[in-house]
């Protein structure tokens, strides 16, 4: 199944520095020229409960995640248990937990029935013998892993140097431990997993998560103020932007709550800089009134929602695509907005830039959706480059134009719905940015004609935008597929992988992906559904939120929906299994 990749799991109890082990492995694998797509699973607690890193790596490009674990490292009892349960039949388990057969129930049966290859290293002894401490058990295991994977130990050695650059005293002992693990031989058999690297030029690739990518996009797009209230899984955007704020000189402010963050961002945008906020669904609830204000006074506002499963606190560290309806319909009253959704690191980097441009050009709120699996998952992707998406602000700056401004230009009724915007202070013509219904200068009106046409002016922007927004993108041969999918967000990754995997099984699959969701572009979509007979939707939610939107805006109906709502992302297996049911060929 996971033919085009190797899947490595590193599991242990939450809170024991798992993520730094995971990081080290991924970076070293990347240096070996592998493509990587990984995920982190951990509970919403500071300590306790099982956690893991699942690292998919391959010498060819991979886009999504697989759940067929080929090889696993268990760091402790919790980790070993987890690995035993989740390893594929015949998979390899490496660990150093010597009391395992006493403390894990049904151990022999599990190992036997799944025909697992288990390698219990005396890792503790090895670490201590080599002058290391108990915590270096992990390094010993990694050294052994390197052997099993047939990789050059030097790559691990280099990464250890980088990882511990701030604690140089422990670099050498870690290297010795890794070497000892690498050299450890089991008397009977030596396990081996054939992984081959095509020696991809790793220097042109970066290994990065979606949240950081989004933050970098914001920096590139000239965002000068970031306001947020911490909320998983969006918090790392705040943390990263704060970390690099001495380089970027960006104002990064943790606000006292989400309403404040949104209001400050709106104030900053109104004054004329670029500001950003990010949160998750529950925090966004609190920002919706501000979104409505942005719609009314036509001041740009961009809010990122990194989704997790709700309702209420839900599953704070897990993933979902369940706040699309929220992004589209929340906030009282009717006004125009754009909703886009990231699908991976690169699209996070790019979409935030588009979001800012669209918000300023059309003077509307823009909601950018991401997901825990995108925001917190790592992947290798071609290095981001500067100046690919020019900044478009849609503000009046030229002196002659400024001089010609009338106050009533600000909210003038136009055929596109877009009026002139200029920044406070820039012209003698002042205007009222009025949250009450208003007329062209922004002065309050309750007149039925004026109110009716001003409301309409704001709403017809939707049409203007629709005429200018890109159509969804099709992956695979656009026509006459055995099975077709329509989706959004992180589904794209496993879909792209699945198209390939299915092709190898002689099944022709294709996929239509919405990057821009609202307003909904329908032409290409309708064409796609004409040219393909067996179309399903794929969504990480229970209700099929995009499916419902499409059904309302077109004559299409989707009785066949691949939906998932248990906090986990789509794996290629989910798709391939679904296809197996729906396509007879298999």
């Amino acid at each position: 199944m996971s033919a085009n990749r190797t899947v490595l799991k590193i599991a242990g109890e939450n809170g024991m520095g798992l993520s730094s082990v995971g990081e080290m492995v991924q970076k070293a694998l990347k240096k070996n020229g592998f493509n990587i797509r990984s995920e982190r699973e951990f509970p919403s607690t500071i300590k306790g409960g099982k956690a893991c890193n699942i690292i998919n790596f391959s010498s060819s490009k991979i886009y999504g995640l697989s759940k067929t674990i080929d090889i696993a490292i268990g760091l402790d009892r919790e980790g070993v248990k987890d690995c035993l349960e989740t390893l594929k039949p015949g998979g390899i388990l490496i660990h150093g937990f010597d009391r395992w057969n006493k403390s894990i129930k049904n151990l022999p049966q599990i190992v036997e029935s799944k025909k697992l290859q288990v390698f219990l290293l005396p890792a503790r002894d090895i670490a201590l013998e080599n002058g290391g401490s108990v915590i270096m058990v992990n390094t010993v295991l990694l050294g052994f892993l390197w052997k099993v994977l047939g990789l050059d130990i030097d790559s691990l050695r280099q990464q250890i140097k980088v990882q511990f650059q701030d604690k140089s005293s422990i670099i050498n002992v870690n290297i010795t431990c890794a070497q000892a693990g690498f050299e450890y031989n089991f008397p009977s058999k030596t396990p081996s997993l054939s992984v081959s690297s095509n020696k991809l030029d790793s220097t042109k690739q970066i290994l990065i998560d979606g949240n950081t990518s989004l933050a970098l996009g914001a920096i590139q797009a000239g965002v000068r103020a970031y306001y947020a209230y911490p909320m998983s899984p969006s918090t790392s955007i705040l943390v990263y932007l704060a970390k690099v704020s001495h380089q970027t000189k960006m104002l990064v402010k943790q606000a006292e709550d989400e309403i404040t963050a949104a209001q400050m961002a709106l104030g900053s945008m109104h004054m004329g800089t670029r500001a950003l906020v990010a949160t998750s669904g529950g925090g966004f609830d609190l920002m919706t009134e501000t979104v409505s204000l942005s719609g009314m006074i036509e001041t740009p506002l961009v809010i990122t929602i990194v989704q997790r499963p709700g309702p209420a606190t839900g599953l704070p560290t897990w993933t979902a695509q369940s706040d699309l309806d929220l992004a589209i319909y929340s906030a009282h009253g009717e006004f125009c907005r754009i909703v886009l959704a990231c699908s991976d690191a690169t699209s996070s980097f790019e979409n935030i830039q588009h979001a800012l441009n669209l918000s300023e050009k059309y003077q509307i709120p823009v909601i950018l959706l991401s997901e825990a699996t995108i925001g917190m998952g790592y992947e290798t992707t071609p290095e981001f480059t500067d100046n690919t998406i020019p900044i478009e602000r849609g503000i009046i700056t030229a002196t002659e134009e400024i001089d010609a401004l009338q106050p009533s230009d600000r909210y003038q009724i136009t055929s596109t719905g877009v009026s002139k915007r200029w920044l406070p202070g820039k012209s003698k013509s002042t205007y009222f940015a009025n949250g009450d219904e208003h007329w062209e200068e922004g002065e309050i009106t309750e007149d039925e004609q004026e109110a009716g046409s001003m409301i309409k002016k704001r709403l017809i922007k939707t049409k203007t935008i629709l005429d200018n927004l890109p159509e969804p993108e099709i992956f695979g041969d656009p026509m006459e597929a055995d099975i077709s999918f329509i989706g959004w967000g992180s589904s794209k990754g496993p879909m792209l992988d699945s198209i390939e995997i299915l092709a190898a099984k002689n099944i022709k699959a294709n996929y239509l992906h919405f990057n821009y969701i609202l307003p909904l572009k329908t032409a290409k979509l309708i064409e796609f559904c004409k040219q393909n007979q067996n179309v399903s939707t794929i969504e990480g939610n229970f209700n099929g939120q995009l499916s419902n939107l499409i059904e309302s805006k077109t004559n299409l109906k989707f009785p066949q929906r691949l939906l998932k709502w248990n906090g986990r992302p789509f794996y290629v297996e989910d798709i391939v299994d679904f296809v197996r049911e729906k396509v007879n060929k298999t």
Binding site: Q247, L251, Q263, P424
Partner: protein, 297 residues
């Protein structure tokens, strides 16, 4: 030269602030005086309409949003402190003033007040405290007198009125002043001082609302107010003196600057922007990120 004299010399500047929109306040409403004082203080400080961003909450007070010709925002109910702060820190050269009612300030938006004060964002914040929710027709606010029947609370409210100044003094403000809507000259002076403060200048105006606040009519205030400068030896940098002076809500209401502290404001304390000189609004441009990519390679 008296305030009025100075203003007569600046009649043109004053009239630049005049808007065509009709006022919608009850006759005798204290908001007339406050709006007048606001215009006066802007004119006396030589601030032009173009140089302002006046941020209004939602309430009777904020229906002034199109009654003064300037850059204005009429935001959401309760949120103006944060909206104005976000605007101000993006361009500290534009004069940002926020206006809000007591309902907005001490109920719906009290969180924003506390933290805007603590952060010392560089704005002037003017509370129109008329001891009720005027625009929604006379409900009780946090400052409504105990046991006084109001629309929606016919038995009066249960809690004692909030001592707003004691409250604000408890979270480390840098400027706290009070004035009275009946005294335009005093309000003007007070707002002028606020406009010259570096950080968050909290100005509370005890505002007459003849329509709904029958408990404390105009005369009630005139009887009780006194200028804090008349207290010999009053040290407005002494928080404990300030706390004592504001303790009573029923008699001897001091007006003027009650507490003041000179310190760098929020923007001035941003370590990563030290010595930068430019404003956030000037810095929006396509920015290279290649330097930041190193750690991901």
């Amino acid at each position: 030269m008296s305030q009025l004299h100075k203003l007569i010399n600046k009649a043109e500047e004053f009239s630049a602030y005049e808007s065509d929109q009709k006022h919608t306040w009850c006759s005798g409403c204290g908001n007339f005086g406050i709006l007048n004082a606001l215009k006066r203080s802007l004119v006396l400080e030589n601030i032009k309409p173009q140089e302002t961003l006046l941020c209004f909450d939602v309430g009777c007070n904020s229906n002034a949003s199109d009654k003064i010709k300037a850059y204005t925002i009429h935001g959401l109910h309760g949120r103006v402190a944060s909206l104005a702060s976000g605007a101000a820190i993006a361009n500290t050269k534009q004069k940002v003033i926020a206006m809000a009612g007591d309902g907005a300030t001490f109920s719906e938006g009290i969180n924003h007040l506390v933290h805007a004060v603590r952060n010392d964002y560089p704005i002037t914040f003017i509370v129109h405290n008329n001891n009720n929710y005027g625009l929604t027709i006379g409900q009780a606010s946090s400052t409504t007198k105990h046991d006084f029947a109001m629309n929606g609370s016919p038995d009066g409210v249960i809690p004692e009125p909030l001592n707003t100044l004691q409250f604000v003094l408890s979270f480390n403000p840098s400027f706290v002043a009070r004035s009275f809507s009946g005294d335009i000259e005093h309000m003007t002076k007070t707002i002028q001082m606020a406009l010259n403060h570096r950080g968050f200048a909290y100005v509370e105006i005890m505002q007459a609302c003849p329509t709904f606040n029958k408990a404390t009519p105009q005369e009630w205030y005139w009887d009780k107010i006194f200028d804090i400068q008349t207290i010999i030896g009053y040290d407005k940098t002494d928080i404990w003196q300030a706390r004592k002076i504001v303790d009573s809500l029923d008699k001897d209401l001091a007006v003027g600057v009650i507490y003041e502290k000179s310190k760098p404001n929020f923007v001035e304390q941003l370590k990563n922007r030290e010595g930068l000189g430019s404003e956030l609004i000037d810095e929006v441009k396509s920015t290279s990120i290649t330097g930041l990519l190193q750690e991901f390679r």
